[in-house]
Structure formats: structure tokens, C-alpha cells
Symmetry: D2
Subunit: 226 residues, 4 copies
């Protein structure tokens, strides 16, 4: 069994078996993970029936619970998204919205269930928008409980305007190859550092100027009342 | 001597001695740092002669080198910024632009000088824009070398449209108090975790599909050539 | 028959008959439109089967063509969206992605089909993110062909952190009431100004340093080849 | 005398006489303006002593008032900015912050002084960030009073990661040439349409559910009280 596990949430708009540029770049990250004793799984979100909403189970055939389980079991979470109109794809936003449901849960330490996981992003687009897609996604994941290493992203974009996609461009871009390796190694490093020294403090209750001894009780109230 | 040190870069537009709402919230974070054996310093950027540019010394009286030295010596870097027009203040952008100069340096491990530091943000505004200011700033700092814990931000904003500022509103907002504590404790935790397990890999050279043994040589070339 | 027509694309995540805060604010804009001889229709996107994709008909029961027809017939297009995680909802992003399909069409003047329409936005959220949602959406709509008046938005957000929604807060916010009126009147004014003086130039062909007389031919090639 | 006038606010970080890529692209827009009887002026902001702040005169040698006068006299306002770290330059943010001072003024129609002007953007960067820079800047300008035509922007960016600048890349990019022309013609068209049909309504007072006859009085109060 591998030392660490990673889940890649591929947010392409195209259902299987269509070729996904975003998956192609994700697979490059996985090549580095393979060398680092990290077991990886890719989940193409559009292949599942994931309903709009902000809970962990929207019922009526909603398959989000299957995906959420994979997320909870992983040490490393990578959101892989194409760029459309300068920002992340609707499917990536859908994934983040569905993760809102985890705010209502607490683990044994009184933390959100994504605490002590690390997050990264993989982004592809014909052009412009990688910074926007990366920054929004990574920040959202820190609110959900993830930590983020330096250089937590790899992306490929072409120059201004319409143009070839990542695969058409040949997957041979120096900067993208460099950041792919960089991201992979840094995610692994931080995941190990958190295994050795996990966050142990419960998340603070609203207001949060309580003495430590009052915190656990307040958190219980928070969960019951919220 | 304290176990850890933090530098707060206050990016208010107002020179001293004008009252800074952003500093007022930063001081709340410092109260938590004081309890955690973290020594803090606030630098109000507009009180210095910081020239526009993307190098570490723009010459001709430029005082950025003084500030950069403080940043390099800190374990925790917090950018504290007001919101103007929905995004971070011009002074925060200026700080990030000047940090571009650190890309040309390497530490003993062949990393950017901000590696193994942790980053957080403090944001205040009459209204709307905290997510934008936070996400852009934190992402930029990860590219510069910082790691980011979960819940790495605290902010206060009023509701839609013009309105009172943080101090006028009374500094007593439950969510802001909660996130202030949360951010402070998580920054400290991650800083300690990285002291125990620092990133040790040199940053990869362009291309970066080299065998590990070739990396050091390539990095040397990168530095000489770049 | 009314002088102008407006379509509101409500991008709430909640299907009918659930109450939509975003619709509630959209209806306030409609009150002003009613006084200005503008006929309004609200389309709640999640009530339709709108498939992910970037064409105008993704087949297999896709109901986007019905919505696109309404958009093409309107003089004023308003995207109404909740904020989730600091940005526009996934459904708003889905709508923009589907409008990508219109880039492949030209009207009689050789323009995109959304030319000579005007665009505005309505945004609601518990907190923070209105500027981001507005700016991304309006910019996307200008690329698709719409013009934007001054003060093209109305939004309601509460202060920092979780809190009541627009309807719970009582719909009586001074700034929001002001901008609702402002937006409505300015959209109407610009729509009338463009009726009187429509953009008539065909969109330029790639490269676009041709003499005017060559442009029409190049555009034809563009359409045939693209 | 030309029919229309345009002011380009060049927000490069480099003082004259350094070569500005952003200015180089702005000059391409001016070539089209020259053919359309539009008189153009470029103001390189860093060549002036523009102090941080949010008023129209920060005193003590502040040269913003000179620039603001040029802005008020122009029919077309173009903010030209480089990209740094995925967003607009600090100088562009500074310009927007200083325009905050115009919110305190009203023209003869009771509108902000930038009403009935049209806005566009010119953006250059080695890579990624044009959408972000454009959307934030254009939205800010609509709040200040400007209207925005379709395709109101031209940009040049290279592909992912560091690379050549606009001038080094040869200024010969098909998409950028196309959007340069497109933007120029659309700005001119909208400026003329607003000359023929200017916005005439005063901006609404706070609250803004007054009868029209009460509005003028309320606006007077707004100005005196605000």
C-alpha cells in the first residue's frame, strides 16, 4: 500500500470517452506521484450525476456522496480544471459548492473533514485565466481545511486569443514541465509534514475569545445549533 | 527570544500617524501571536519610500531593501490590506511586485528566499472584496515560496455599499474574531511544522525532467543564465 | 407591445418552487422596468435541462436552445446570480460557457448575435463576492457582444461571514435600493441609445489590418473556415 | 479640432524614457483613432508625482489634479496596464483609487463627472492575467460613470510562464491586431452614440424610491451631507 493517496477531480466539461486536455496534464503530475509512493485516482466529475447544491447529498440519484468519500480518504486533493472565459470551469465551481456541505461536519478533533489534507491545482486552457482559476480554487480549499505548499499549481495556456489546446501544442512546454514536477514534490512534502505534525486544534467557535477549556463545549453547541 | 517571528506588511494608503483600520485588525492577530511566543512587527509600507518596480533595489533612495530584510528574517509573513474597488490596495500590489525581485535569488537549498515561510492575510474594507484580496495575495505568496495553512485569513467588511469602517463598527464582529484566532493559531502551527520538516528540494530547473543528480547543475546554470 | 424587452437569467442553484433570493432582487429591477415600458421575463436556469458544454446545442434533450432563443430576442440581458465561495454560482458560469456557442454565428451585419444588446447583473449573497461576480460576468458579456452602461449592477451582501440572506434581511437596504433603480434606468437608456445608433461595423477578421473594402470578404472566409 | 478626444493612462511601472510595451500596444489603438478623427494623448502615470489616496488632491506636490483634468476633458478613457502576478499593475490600482475622489462631485445633470464617457483597456504581459486586469478595470470604470462597448479591450500575453514581452515578440499577433481595431472602432461608435443620446438622469439618491420630483432635492442633500 502506498504511503500517500491523491485524488484528482477532473472538471472538464466533456464526458468520457472524449479526450481531456486537463486530464492529460494531470497525468503528468501523477507520473511524479508514482515515483513518490503516492497512489492516484482521477475522477471525471461530468461522468457522474452531480446535482447543483450546497449539501453533501442532494438526493434523487445524486452521486456526489461517492465522490466526497474519495475526497475524504485522500491525503492530497487536486482540482484539475479547464479555463473558460478567463476563469475556472462551471464544473470546478460545482465541486466547490458541493464541498460547502462539509462545513457542517467535524472530525474527531473538532475540525472540518478536509483538515490535514493538502491541495493543488492543474489548469489548462487555450489562453489566459490560469492565475484566476488557481487562486480562487486554492483559497476556497484553504477555507475548507486544506493546507497549500509553495508552487501548488501547474498550468498550460497558449498566448492571447483562441489557439491550440495543451495536447495539440505537444505537451512539451518547459515552464509547464517544470511546475508539474515542482507542484508534485511540494504537495508530497507538505502532506508528509502534516502527517508528522497534524493540526490538532479544534476550529474556534463563533466569537472565539473563550478560554481553551470552554472551547470544546462551545463547539458542541455550534454543531448542535448550526 | 521568541520561538517564531512575524512581519505584518500594512498596506494602508494612509501614512502615519493616521489611524489605520487594517492595522487595528492586524493587532488582534498579534494578540494571539503574543500568547504563542511569536514576536511581531508591523511595517506600514507608505511610511517608507518604496519605488515602483520589480527588482529588490530600485536605487535613488529606495527603502524597499530595509523592508525586504525584515521579510527575509520572519517566519510568518502577513500582508494586511484595505479593499479599494473590490480588490487589494495599490500598496499591496506594489509589495507583491517588489517581491518579484526575490525570484532571482536562491537560498542554500537552491530555493527562493521565501521558502519555508508561511503566509496569511488581514483584510478590512467598508464592503465587498475580501475574497478577491485574499485569494490573489495568498496565491502570489505561494509562488514566491510561502506555504499557506487552512483558514489563513481574517477579514472584516460591512454589508453592501458605503458604510462604517472596522473601527467605527466597533471591532466586535463574531466571525472576524473567530477567524482572527483561527488564522493566528494555524499560521503558528504550520510554521512549527515546517521548522520540523522544512522543504529541502531545490526548485526544479526549466524543463525539469532531469534525473535528480542533474538538477543541481541545471539550477546553477539557471541562476547564472537567468 | 412594450418598447423594449429584458430577459433575466436566474442562476440560483435551487430549482422551483424553492424561494430564490436572487429572483427577489431581480423582481425589484423589474418593478423599474415595468415603469419604463420594458417587458421582462425571468428564466430559472436550473429548471431546465442545460447540459455542460460550449456549443449552442449539446443534443440528447438539451434545453439550452430554448433559453438561447429568449436571449436572442431580448434587448436587455441580465444575469442574476448568487455568490458562492466569493464568486458567481456554477450555473452562471454554465450560462456563459454555453454562450460560447454564439461566437460561431454572425448576424446580418457580420456581428455576433448578442451585438446591440445591453447587459446588467443582479447579485445576492450572505457576504462578500459581489464585485468579483459582477466584473467577470459583465466582461464576458462584452466579449459576447453586449454593451454595458454606467452602474450596470445591483447587489446585496451582508457583512463578513455567514449570515442572513437578502429576503431574511428584509429587502430594505438603502444602497441596494439605490443601485436597483440606477441600474434599471441606465440599462433602458443605453438600450434606447443603441436602437437609435446601433453598432453597424462587422467584427474584424483575424489580423484585421485590411482596408475596409477587404473586410467583408475576409469575414466570409472567417465564417466558412472557422 | 477633432470630433472626439481620448486619454490613455499608461500604468507601466517604468518611468520615461524606458521603453513601455504597454505604450507600444496603446499606440496601435491610436493608429485606428487617428483614422477616426479622435485626438489622443498618452499620460505615463509614473512620470508624475501621484500620491496614494482616495481624494482628488492629496496636497504636498500631488500632481493627480493635472491628470484628472485630462480625464475629465476626454470622451474616451483607456487604462493601459501591464500584468504583474496575474493582475493589473499597482499603478493602475492607484489610478482607480484616486478616481474615488470623483464620487464626491456632480456635473450639471447631478451625475458623477465621468458620466457619458466611454472606457476601454489595453493590457500587456509576458503571460496570463489579461482577463483579470480587464474585467476589474472596466467594472470599476462603469461604477465611476463610464459606459463600455462590446469588445472594449485589446491585450497581448505570451503562453504559460516567463517569456518575451510584446515588443520582443514582434507586435504581430493576429488576435491582438484584430482586437485592437475592434476595440478602437467600438469605443468611437459608443462615444458618438452617447454624444447623440447622453445619459440625462441624475444619479439616484440613497434609498431611491422617491418620486422623480423629490430626487433633485434629495441629491442636493446627498451632496451636502456626504
Amino acid at each position: 500500500m502506498a504511503e500517500l493517496s491523491a485524488v484528482f477531480l477532473n472538471c472538464t466539461l466533456k464526458p468520457s470517452p472524449a479526450v481531456s486536455n486537463t486530464e492529460a496534464l494531470a497525468r503528468k503530475v501523477i507520473e511524479w506521484f508514482d515515483q513518490s509512493d503516492v497512489e492516484s485516482e482521477i475522477v471525471r466529475i461530468v461522468d457522474y450525476n452531480v446535482k447543483p447544491g450546497v449539501t453533501s447529498d442532494e438526493g434523487d440519484g445524486d452521486e456526489w456522496p461517492l465522490i466526497l468519500q474519495k475526497i475524504k480518504q485522500a491525503d492530497i486533493i487536486v482540482i484539475a480544471t479547464p479555463i473558460w472565459f478567463g476563469v475556472r470551469a462551471s464544473i470546478a465551481q460545482l465541486v466547490i459548492e458541493r464541498l460547502d456541505g462539509t462545513y457542517g461536519e467535524r472530525n474527531e478533533q473538532g475540525q472540518y473533514p478536509l483538515y490535514n489534507k493538502v491541495a493543488g491545482v492543474v489548469i489548462t486552457g487555450n489562453e489566459d485565466g490560469a492565475h484566476s482559476a488557481a487562486e480562487t480554487t486554492l483559497f476556497n480549499l484553504t477555507h475548507l481545511g486544506c493546507a497549500v505548499p509553495p508552487n501548488p499549481d501547474t498550468y498550460w495556456v497558449g498566448d492571447a486569443g483562441p489557439g491550440p489546446s495543451y495536447l495539440e501544442a505537444g505537451q512539451d512546454h518547459e515552464y509547464t514541465k517544470r511546475t508539474t514536477r515542482w507542484m508534485a514534490l511540494n504537495l508530497v512534502h507538505l502532506a508528509k509534514a502534516l502527517k508528522a505534525n497534524p493540526f490538532t486544534e479544534p476550529i474556534p467557535p463563533p466569537g472565539a475569545e473563550l478560554e481553551p477549556e470552554d472551547a470544546a463545549a462551545a463547539i458542541q453547541e455550534d454543531l448542535l445549533g448550526g
